[in-house]
Structures are given as structure tokens and as C-alpha cells.
């Protein structure tokens, strides 16, 4: 059946995402969620077990959790594509997913004959696909309420799988569980009131029978939380506010934000979650929220069983530049730190500050802060406020540095690969009306600056390799464009690193040196998705897939709806 006849795809196509003064609104979504089934008998029926999820990182045939493994390495052991032959990597096919909205996600691959891909994109549309042929097996569109408000596009950054279910966060701050063989809804759980400004866009994590999901709405005066749901029923297991009462003045905590709007990293050995933490609220007016505003803009460690807060490391105390620290945390086990004569489990990430931070997973102690990934100009300078006449461009701008773009870690090179913005913005602080559920910046942010900082090199972004042990910036590929650089990174055991960019280029880098070994022109639209790769023994091919299309809320470029799949025979 052609996808034009697919009711779920039709429902997604009929859904309009409109930018308003108050952010993005989702209009025209179906009143009830829609499932459309095609050849669902092709989906092999077996439970995706916890052992499979834990083994996803080492399994060349699988991509079962958002970051490939729970440690979020985005490192594949599929070994067909190498630096020597990558120049011959070819497009196997491209398919239209039917809904050309936000395309920021990571598809999952459940191994089998055939393997099954679960692929999601905005607005809350998900499919099961036979990735050998690009055939849609079922599709589902969630009924997003029309009063949902979104700061930054109708993103959905990927699903999760466990046993016979596939899970997707929903834009109205919920999680929906679907039967992964049929696409039918099993349960839905709301985690917060979307009318108060809460939403959900990230890939949830599933482990130990629980679905872990966070909170978004940091521009709408909410109070952030993380919660664990029963994977079978959707019932709440625990719920933790991210910001501690005792570290905020009075009732300012009620609109403290401190959301965690990208997924947790699961430490299966220590029983911990490492959360990327967003901005305090309001974004730019720090005078109504004095103090460091913990736990905003950093890494928060929670006990996985209870949700208890264990430690927090802050990157931008009392932030007034919207320096979220959103990218998924990379967990590196038994990292040798030569200059300290230590071996530690390390939590590594970069924030909008453009530094990469290497933390001790036990305590949150900073082991090393890297050289800046991109330029830092007028950084950490108090923004002007109240009188609008004074403007001051700062870098990194409020987009970062590293925003949500998931990094990759290659244990063979010992390097972490990041995508970072390198563009100034201006912000100032003034009184702005607050109403519940309305956008709540506490000031003004300008992407089109009146001036540029002295010393700006003009490159809008970069792909960067950093050694997490020493903080050394090992290589950097500057990117020039009028559009921002989104999407994640993939690295391979054969010594390659793959990243798409906003110029429509899919690039294969030498993971050691950053040399471009392969480039593929996908066309004029930006690549905003995260590359994933797997080996299919039935076809004896290694595949590499990525979603193509402009996403985000500023300078995102042209929309598209393509899933592009590359392959190489063994």
C-alpha cells in the first residue's frame, strides 16, 4: 500500500505546526490517535529483553537504545565500512516518511529477519519499517492537543523499545506505549499538565522494568522533574523535582524550570541516572531568582531505584544566557586518567558553554574541563537589562556551544565527538508579562545581532573531537552556512566518525584525524537527525540511516521528510 493511503501518515501530514508569539502550536492533529497497519506479519515476534538492551552496544546488528548503548556512545561494532572503503559507500534507497516536520530523531533497530526499524519524527509520528526495503509496516500518529505550546519546534528525538512494546514521549508531556508488532496503543501516561507549559520531545529510556522520562518547558515558568513509570502499565514508580527546595529563595522555586529535556544516561552497574539539565527560570532576569540556581545548567545524578538526588555539577551558575547543558551524558567506564594516576568511571558531556566536562561518576567532581570547542567571546558578561538601548553580543550564543546534539565516543581513539554552534546572539533583560503556560523568557533574545564580537571567525558551527582525559581539542572541522548545525554523531570500531550537516552533506571523517574521507550530497535541505548503523546478516550488508530535514526554532532551513539509508556489502 502506498503511504499516501496511510491514515496515520495522513493525520500527521494534516497536522500543522505554527509559530506564534508564544512559541510553536500544534494545530489540526487528529482528535484520537491513529494507527494504520500494513504488512505487520513481517515483524518477528519476540521480546526485546533487558539482556538485549544491555548488549546493544556490542551487538553489530542492533541499535536498541537511543545512544546505541546505555552509556550513550553511539559507537557501532559493525565493521564492514572502513576508512579504506568508505569512499565506496552508496545510497541504498531513500524514502519519504510522509510528514515533513521536525526530523531530529534516532531510529532504533531491532535485529531479526528482517530487522525492524522504529522511526519517529514530529509531530509525534512513529513507524515500524522493514529497513531492507524501506517498507512501512505500521504507522501511528498521536493525538496532540491543540493547546500544547512548544518553545522550539515539534520535535520527537526517538523511541525506546522493551519486550513487546515501543515507547514514545508525547508533546503534551506524556509517554505512549504501543504494541511493537501492531502499532496499537497499550497505555498512555501524562507526566505533567501541558496547559502549564510542560512538554516532552526526547527519547525515553527503559531499564529494569521502568520508563525514565523528564520534563520540558524551561521557557514557560515550569518546575522540572524526572520520573520513572512502570514499563508494563505506565503507573508512576517515583517522581523527583530536579531543583531542591533548600537551594532556592522562597517561592522562586515554583518557576525554577531546571528541566531535563533530553534523555537520561543509564548506569546499570551503579544503579544511577545522569541527567542533562536545562536553564533556570526566567531565562534572563536573574534578580528574581538569586543564588546559583541549582540544579540548572549541569549534570544531575539520581538514584535509579528511588529518584533520590545524589550529586549535581553546575556549568553555568546563576545562568542568564540560556546555557542549558542538554546533550546526553557519555559514560566511560574505567577511564585511565594518567596525570592523576586514577582509573575512574567518567561522565562526559559538553554544554552550551562550549567546554567538554569530564566528571567522576561517583561524586560529580570535575576531572578535566576541555579547551573550548568553539569561540568564547564576551562570555560570562552580565547581560544588559531594563533599558533596551544597550545590546551586547556574546558567544557562545543561547544556542551554544553544544545544545541537544548527541555526541559520540569511540573507545579506540579515546575521543568524544561533538557538534557545536559558533554564532553570537544578544540578550537583554526586561519585564515581560507572565501568564501560566505562556512563554517566560524574562527578557529578549536576538539572533540577528546589531554587531558581532571582535575576533569572531564567521564559522557558524563545527564538528569537534576532544580527548576527555586531557581536555585536548584534537581536531575540528569548521562548518559555514546561514543555517544552524543540528543532529548527532556516529562513530565506528573501524575508525570512522559520521555526521550530517546543515548544508545537506553527509560526511565520513577519519575518527583519528578529522580528515573528510567520504561526502554525500543529500540535496539542499539540512540534516538534523542522528546517524545510526547496523549489520544485517540476512543481506550481508552494513547499513547507515539518517533522517533529513530542517528542524529547530531558529535558522533551521528547509523542511524535508526523507529517511536516507546507505549500505555496503560485506
Amino acid at each position: 500500500m502506498a503511504i499516501e493511503e496511510d491514515r496515520a501518515i495522513k493525520a500527521a501530514m494534516d497536522t500543522v505546526v505554527r509559530e506564534t508569539d508564544n512559541g510553536y502550536r500544534v494545530l489540526g492533529a487528529p482528535e484520537q490517535s491513529v494507527t494504520h497497519q500494513h504488512d505487520i506479519d513481517r515483524i518477528p515476534e519476540f521480546d526485546v529483553t533487558e539482556e538485549m538492551l544491555k548488549g546493544s552496544g556490542d551487538d553489530p546488528e542492533a541499535w536498541l537504545v537511543y545512544g546505541k548503548n546505555y552509556e550513550q556512545h553511539r559507537y557501532t561494532t559493525a565493521g564492514v565500512i572502513t576508512p579504506e572503503n568508505v569512499a565506496d559507500l552508496e545510497l541504498e534507497y531513500e524514502m519519504s516518511v510522509g510528514s515533513g516536520s521536525s526530523m531530529e530523531g534516532s531510529p532504533l533497530i531491532v535485529p531479526g529477519d528482517p530487522p525492524i526499524m522504529y522511526q519517529s519524527n514530529g509531530p509525534n509520528h512513529i513507524k515500524a519499517i522493514d529497513p531492507r526495503e524501506g517498507d512501512v509496516l505500521w504507522s501511528f500518529t498521536y493525538a496532540v492537543p491543540s493547546d500544547v505550546v512548544l518553545c522550539c519546534d515539534d520535535n520527537n528525538r526517538g523511541p525506546a523499545v522493551f519486550e513487546d512494546k515501543v515507547y514514545m514521549t508525547t508533546l503534551d508531556s506524556g509517554v505512549v506505549a504501543l504494541n511493537r508488532y501492531t502499532g496499537e496503543e497499550e497505555w498512555y501516561a501524562s507526566t505533567a499538565d501541558h496547559e502549564s507549559g510542560y512538554s516532552a520531545t526526547w527519547a525515553p529510556q527503559v531499564y529494569d522494568g521502568k520508563v525514565f522520562t523528564g520534563s520540558a518547558g524551561g521557557e514557560y515558568g515550569v518546575r522540572g522533574f524526572h520520573t520513572a513509570l512502570d514499563a508494563e502499565t505506565g503507573d508512576e514508580v517515583w517522581y523527583t523535582h530536579t531543583s531542591p527546595e533548600e537551594e532556592w529563595v522562597g517561592d522562586s522555586i515554583e518557576q525554577s524550570c531546571c528541566t531535563n529535556w533530553m534523555g537520561a544516561t543509564v548506569d546499570t552497574e551503579k544503579g544511577r541516572l545522569y541527567l542533562p539539565m536545562g536553564n533556570p527560570g526566567p531565562d534572563f532576569d536573574g534578580s528574581v531568582r538569586p543564588g546559583p540556581n541549582r540544579n540548572s545548567c549541569g549534570t544531575l545524578c539520581l538514584d535509579m531505584e528511588t529518584g533520590e538526588r545524589l550529586w549535581f555539577f553546575q556549568e553555568s551558575p546563576h545562568d542568564v544566557w540560556d546555557y542549558d547543558s542538554a546533550c546526553p551524558r557519555v559514560l566511560i567506564r574505567e577511564m585511565e586518567v594518567d596525570h592523576r594516576e586514577q582509573t575512574i568511571d567518567a561522565v562526559v558531556s559538553a554544554g552550551k558553554t562550549a567546554w567538554s566536562y569530564t566528571l567522576d561518576a561517583d561524586t560529580g567532581e570535575l576531572i578535566e574541563r576541555s579547551q573550548p570547542g568553539v569561540q568564547q567571546l564576551n562570555m560570562y558578561t552580565m547581560i544588559p537589562h531594563i533599558d533596551e538601548g544597550r545590546r551586547m553580543p556574546f558567544m557562545p550564543g543561547a544556542m551554544g556551544g553544544n545544545d541537544w546534539q548527541p555526541p559520540a565516543y569511540n573507545p579506540d581513539t579515546g575521543l568524544v565527538y561533538y557538534k557545536m554552534h559558533n554564532s553570537p546572539q544578544e540578550a537583554w533583560w526586561r519585564f515581560e508579562e507572565y501568564e501560566e503556560g505562556k512563554k517566560y523568557w524574562g527578557g529578549i533574545l536576538e539572533d540577528e545581532t546589531e554587531s558581532i564580537p571582535d575576533g569572531y571567525n564567521g564559522h557558524i558551527g563545527a564538528v569537534i573531537a576532544i580527548d576527555p582525559e586531557t581536555g585536548q581539542r584534537v581536531w575540528r572541522d569548521w562548518i559555514d552556512s546561514d543555517i544552524y548545525l543540528w543532529g548527532g554523531i556516529l562513530t565506528t570500531s573501524t575508525g570512522l566518525t559520521f555526521a550530517g550537516n546543515q548544508n545537506g552533506e553527509m560526511v565520513g571523517y577519519d575518527a583519528e584525524t578529522g580528515d573528510r574521507l567520504w561526502e554525500f550530497d543529500t540535496g539542499e535541505t539540512p540534516i538534523s537527525g542522528d546517524p545510526v548503523s547496523w549489520y544485517d546478516p540476512g543481506e550481508e550488508k552494513q547499513y547507515l540511516a539518517i533522517q533529513v530535514g530542517g528542524s529547530g526554532w531558529l535558522r533551521r532551513g528547509k523542511r524535508d521528510d526523507r529517511l536516507m539509508v546507505f549500505s555496503m556489502e560485506a
Partner: protein, 318 residues
């Protein structure tokens, strides 16, 4: 407690000079003379409060007196004088202990930091919670205007004239130079202080959810306590970035904030016990103490928490 080495080449034993208030610059002095309306010849290289007291107009401001009177009337019978007096003494002891804390610098601790800076502010938390419980912050904010150049000028005049306040600061371990620096925090920060708007003055209909914005004096004192509270974990976790200069600056910023906190405690005690300050001086003490806490929490943020590439200790790994 262990003294932990930091890595920017400073000696591990610190002289008193490292731990003193910032130098007063020519620009500071010019701002001072301009605001107070005194001649440059009245302000020497190292101006002092006692020196200035002889040069400024001795007439009290009526509006300050009525504001102070209103505050006393509003808070009469609600404050616990003995608790405030006890905590004031404990605060003085903690401020006196600050050089010792500075010499430790970064708290020890294997898996989490020892309580070093947090111990210093324990009496401050008691004061804060008491003042919050009795509605002190709301009453003070209601009575006082927002920070304007005129209000700051009058505050400065009253502050300089108020010998009991100077005595309080002396008793807290602030020498003449340090007292002068605190006054300059108030006098020379019109623009910065104007950014901190009392909750009641956030424009009608365009404010935040005002129910969730604490009164300005509470933000001043609460922010002070939270910044000092966070020093333990911040310095302990980020020790690879921390230099002796950062620790020195944090020492003074902490001391200055606690000077402001002590002054507000003294003012609250004066309301409770009704003894030494005139009504106008009470108003000045409340305004000035909030200003000192506000200015110095912005300073500690820049000096010790926003550690730029230029400020950080060199990496030992590269």
C-alpha cells in the same frame, strides 16, 4: 581539615593582604565625592567613614525617618530580640573565623565536601528563617522605595552618619578600609542596584507570577546565603579550575556579603529592641545592607563561579 594545594603558583600561606578588601580606585573616589556632594580634598587616598562623617550634611532626611518609623510600627512585637542578638554574636564569631576558612581554601572530603563555608553561615540561616517567618522581608520591602540615585544618595549619607552601624561593622571585624569599601558598594552601584526591583514595583500587569517572586530584602539575604552555601561543593568539585586569586576574591566577597547580612540583622534587632538607631538610620541600614548583599553576590558570581578560560588554573593534563 586539610589544606589542598591549588595550582597557579601562589604560596600556600596567605598574607593578610591577599585577604583584604579590594583597593579603592580613583574612579571609586570620584563616584563617592559626586554622590555625597563633597570636595575631592575631603576624600584622601584612603577615605574612611569617620573622615567623611565630618564633611557631610548632618541634617537627617524626613522621608527616611518616616519610613523607619513605619517599619518599626509594622514589625513591633513580631521579632525575637534575643534570638537576633545571639545569632548576631555567632555571626561575628564566624566572620572572625573567615581567614582560617580562607587558609583551608577548598574543603576536604573523599566523596563529598566537608562543611567549611556552610558552617560559616549557620547563624545566618537562623536569622533568615526567623525574618521570613515573621514577615520581616515583606514589611521592609513595602516600606522602602526601589533603588534610585536619590535613594542611594540619602542612604549613603545616613549610613555614614550612623556611628552605631560603623560600630557594628567594627565589632564584626571590618576595619576602616573594609567599611569604606562596603559603603562604596552602595554609593557606586546605581545602575546595578536599579536592576534589582522590589517585587511590589514590578510593573503592574507585566510582572512575573509575583506570588513566586520573594520580596527584595529576602532575595538579597537568601541569595547571600545560597552563594556561600554553594561554595563548598563548587570549590570541591571544580578544584582543577580554582586558583588562589579565586579563593582570595571569594573570601572578600563572602565577608562583604556577611557584613551586609550582619547589618540587616542589626537593623532587625534594633527594631526588636528599639535602642541605638534613629528611624532614618534604620531605613539606611536596611537599604544599605540589602545593597551590600546584592552587589557582592554579583561579585562572587563573577569572581568565583563564572570561571573563564583566562581565570582558570592551568590544566595539569595538557
Amino acid at each position: 581539615m586539610t589544606i589542598l594545594a591549588v595550582s597557579d603558583g601562589y604560596q600556600s600561606t596567605h598574607t593578610r593582604e591577599h585577604m583584604s578588601a579590594p583597593q579603592i580606585t580613583t574612579e571609586d573616589r570620584e563616584g563617592l565625592t559626586r554622590t555625597l556632594g563633597v570636595g575631592e580634598s575631603d576624600v584622601g587616598e584612603r577615605p574612611t567613614l569617620s573622615q567623611l562623617r565630618g564633611t557631610i550634611d548632618a541634617e537627617a532626611d524626613d522621608s527616611f525617618a518616616s519610613m523607619g518609623e513605619a517599619i518599626r510600627a509594622e514589625l513591633s512585637g513580631r521579632l525575637d530580640a534575643s534570638l537576633l542578638a545571639e545569632r548576631r554574636e555567632e555571626l561575628a564569631a564566624q566572620i572572625e573565623r573567615l581567614p582560617e576558612v580562607r587558609n583551608v581554601g577548598i574543603p576536604a572530603g573523599e566523596s563529598e565536601p566537608d562543611r567549611l563555608y556552610r558552617e560559616v553561615i549557620e547563624p545566618g540561616w537562623d536569622v533568615y528563617h526567623h525574618l521570613a517567618d515573621v514577615g520581616f522581608f515583606e514589611s521592609v520591602e513595602e516600606a522602602l522605595p526601589r533603588f534610585t540615585p536619590d535613594h542611594i544618595e540619602t542612604t549613603a549619607h545616613e549610613l555614614i552618619r550612623a556611628e552605631p552601624l560603623s560600630g557594628t561593622l567594627s565589632g564584626m571585624g571590618f576595619d576602616e578600609h573594609e567599611q569604606m569599601v562596603l559603603v562604596m558598594n552602595v554609593v557606586n552601584n546605581n545602575t546595578r542596584l536599579a536592576r534589582w526591583v522590589p517585587t511590589k514595583d514590578i510593573p503592574s500587569g507585566v510582572g512575573f507570577d509575583v506570588d513566586h517572586v520573594p520580596p527584595l530584602p529576602q532575595r538579597a539575604m537568601g541569595g547571600t546565603l545560597l552563594w556561600v552555601n554553594a561554595l563548598d561543593v563548587h570549590l570541591w568539585q571544580s578544584r582543577v579550575l580554582v586558583t588562589e586569586k579565586i579563593l582570595d576574591d571569594a573570601f572578600w566577597d563572602t565577608k562583604a556579603m556577611l557584613g551586609g547580612l550582619s547589618m540587616m540583622t542589626e537593623a532587625a534587632h534594633d527594631v526588636a529592641a528599639g535602642e541605638s538607631l534613629t528611624d532614618a538610620q534604620l531605613t539606611a541600614a536596611l537599604s544599605a545592607s540589602a545593597a551590600i548583599m546584592i552587589v557582592n553576590q554579583e561579585e562572587i558570581c563573577k569572581d568565583a563561579f563564572w570561571i573563564t578560560e583566562e581565570m582558570r588554573a592551568p590544566s595539569k593534563a595538557r
